[in-house]
Amino acid sequence: MYSEKVMDHFQNPRNVGEIENASGVGTVGNAKCGDIMRIYLDIDDNGVIQDCKFKTFGCGAAVATSSMATELVKGKTVQEALLVTNKAVMEALDGLPPVKVHCSLLAEEGIHAALWDYAEKNGIVIEGLKKPKNDISEGEEEEEY
């Protein structure tokens, strides 16, 4: 059900781990599916993301999107990192099954949460960054059948 790219990033996840004294740390979860992702960012004085690591408790897609998202933001500026949307992550992974789209949101929100933490710690405002939700499942609705 997963693409080869997803399976590759699941089997050999890039950037697993923690960053001590990270510039920003973000933890997000989806209360409904129960998955949790933590993103660590090391951001230099020019606002460039020097390193990025993650820990994830979640499904295959959650692991793969964490891995891909961390790859995508590395070397980018904070502003550029904001453009790493869940769609971008999914595209980079050659797509996800429909039921797994929400997992990629976890990655996007994880990055945002870490950036938000970084901004708060440094007293700055990142243009276009909204306060991330702790629980990305809010607002989802099941249809009747």
């Binding site: 129960g34 998955d35 820990k55 295959g60 897609a61």
Partner: protein
């Protein structure tokens, strides 16, 4: 890579002897069983034979067995038809929180039609207390539906006790025996079972065939309306090859039951003991004694089920999980939540269900693999600190 198939509760490999038995009914005896000519007679005789085998296996009369398309249809039929036929008597139904979705979603549908459903709690092993059943009975209770054995955690419910209570109160008793039929001895009379659901593909029979046992005297309405098949109670051209295959599978399952389940039980307990000895933070789910012979269900804390499944699959091992990520919906297994597991622990569950062919070597290979996988996933889990 040898395939290690440990998902026999999801479905089973169709036995070669079953396929063999079915084959003539595709191309040689393909007649419609409701026709009058000799070709149709062959089909009819084959259907009769299968019905006889199945009825004998649970102590029922052949004319109390109605073939359906599977466990889900049987469950839907039992509940919806009883509701329709007995709504004058009352609109209250008793079931449990750990039933299969074929029961639970049907109950929710019935609630939308104005019925009232009591969903009984279970204890931490998934056992239903017969006293709770009795306490829930009201004057307007028309049906009790409690599964024979749970498909996720393997717990076997006190069906005979519940049946006796139902009978004493004059309430109909249905049991979803999809996991138990062919695996546990069942006697509908002794156990006071009025209706019973089963599905062929759970016992090395074909997919797409099941039956509903309906005790003579129960007022029953059709669920699938149409032709006069199945004594006018279940319309649709008889699935002769499916019925023949189901009959054969039942015959084989009954003949091998004692020996087979004894073997499975031994392997099951061996697997559980290795888990408990060799992997930290493991929890075995389900009753340790009243348990399907082939069911192992364990939670490995700090890791998530789907990830385990994918890594097991890469090693050629088929298993399943109550993890939210593997179900169509996002909610983790309602069964694991009902036995009191918190979300994140339920999330790391694995179900391993053995079959007649499972070997000790396969169990060892699987446990070794799980040890490795759990360690790896824990190392990348934000919840795990060692």
């Amino acid at each position: 890579m040898e395939l290690i198939y440990l998902d026999n509760a999801a479905t089973t490999r169709t036995d070669e002897r079953v396929v063999e038995a079915m084959l003539p009914y595709f191309t040689q005896y393909y007649g419609n069983a409701s026709t009058i000519y000799a070709l149709g007679e062959e089909s009819r005789k084959a259907v009769t034979r299968a019905r006889d085998i199945i009825a004998a296996g649970i102590g029922a009369k052949p004319e109390e067995i109605y073939f359906t398309a599977g466990g889900s249809e049987s469950d839907n039929w039992a509940l919806k038809a009883t509701a329709e036929a007995y709504k004058e008597k009352g609109k209250h139904i008793i079931t449990s929180k750990i039933e299969h979705h074929a029961i639970l979603h049907t109950c929710e549908w019935l609630e939308r039609q104005g019925f009232e459903v009591t969903y009984l709690d279970v204890d931490e092993n998934g056992c239903i207390n017969p006293a709770d059943v009795e306490a829930a009975i009201r004057p307007d209770t028309i049906l009790i539906s409690i599964m024979f054995a749970n498909n996720e955690i393997g717990t076997i419910e006190p069906i005979a006790e519940i049946g006796a209570i139902a009978r004493a109160h004059g309430v109909l008793f249905h049991t979803d025996a999809v996991q138990a039929f062919g695996q546990e001895p069942i006697q509908v009379d002794e156990m006071n079972i009025d209706m019973l659901s089963s599905s062929g593909h759970k016992l090395n029979g074909p997919k797409g065939i099941g039956f509903l046992y309906i005790r003579k005297g129960v007022k029953i309405r059709s669920f699938v309306h149409g032709g006069a098949q199945e004594r006018k109670r279940r319309a649709g051209t008889e699935n002769v090859p499916g019925i023949v295959g189901f009959g054969k599978a039942a015959e084989l399952a009954f003949a091998s039951m004692e020996e087979r389940t004894a073997r499975e039980r031994e392997l099951r307990d061996y697997m559980i003991s290795r888990f408990e000895k060799e992997i930290p933070y493991v929890k075995i789910n389900g009753d340790r004694e009243h348990r399907l012979a082939n069911n192992v269900n364990a939670c490995f804390r700090f890791v998530e089920g789907e990830s385990m499944l994918i890594m097991l699959d890469m090693k050629g091992i088929c298993a399943s999980s109550g993890s939210a990520c593997t179900s169509g919906s996002l909610d983790p297994s309602h069964v694991l939540l009902a036995i009191g597991l918190p979300h994140e622990i339920a999330h790391g569950s694995l179900r391993l269900t053995l079959g007649a062919d499972t070997t000790k070597e396969q169990i060892d290979t699987t446990v070794d693999a799980i040890k490795e996988i759990v360690a790896h996933l824990r190392s990348m889990s934000p919840l795990y600190e060692d």
